[in-house]
Amino acid sequence: MVEYFIAFVVGGLICVVGQLLMDIFKLTPAHVTSSFVVAGAALDGFGLYDKLIQFAGAGATVPITSFGHSLLHGAMAEAEEHGFIGIAMGIFQLTSAGISSAILFGFIVAVLFKPKG
């Protein structure tokens, strides 16, 4: 039960940061999510994001910051094997599930449903 609570609090706090960026600095949602992805990659560059995931579980993997973290993680894993070229090969390796399912489900839903409002 504790892990649910920690996931709730950490995930919620990350969303609060996003809300403050939108309200105070008048950023659009696209700007907020883009900055969060870059922030996630940057934090992972210093090895910090893994610690956050270890602590918060889904509270750190569900927010979009984890997308940046996975991009860098995949790139670094391939770079270990193939050097510089590996960065290009591995960048979408871990995020493949997210991107491909977003394409698949987004397409299917758009075909099946009628636009609302």
């Binding site: 996003g18 995931i53 889904a58 569900v62 770079a79 987004g106 449903f113």
Partner: protein, 154 residues
Amino acid sequence: MGKNELSPEQQAYKEKIKPLQPTPPYFVNCLKAFLIGGLICAIGQGITNFYITFFNFTEKTAGNPTVATLILVASLLTGIGVYDKLGQFAGAGSIVPVTGFANAVTSAALEHKSEGLVLGVATNLFKLAGAVIVFGAVAAYIIGMIRYLFQMVL
């Protein structure tokens, strides 16, 4: 930065209308974002535990199917129009989690459905969410290079 520089008149106008613009209710907005965003993450934790218990994923690998499941649910909720209502209530609480990414993809595709499957749905799929992928890939590429260089030097 020429585009963002304001002439003195524009600056004066901006100052003049400032007290007339509604200030967003910061605290209430943050509370809503916290509650909904936290709830989505707690649900994600439940899905993660489900994959760990029943499909032999480890804590490290369970993130992928969790994200895919949340994207499926969010796409469906966008299709029936529920997610956009949630978004109006929760603000960043529905945008920051990965479900917001799915919502951006699906809603952009739905919106342009009338223009056809190829030119409407397919070309607009990443209209909003593309920014996330572009900035993520560029940032990861640059940071990856820097880290790799450091590893080689040290």
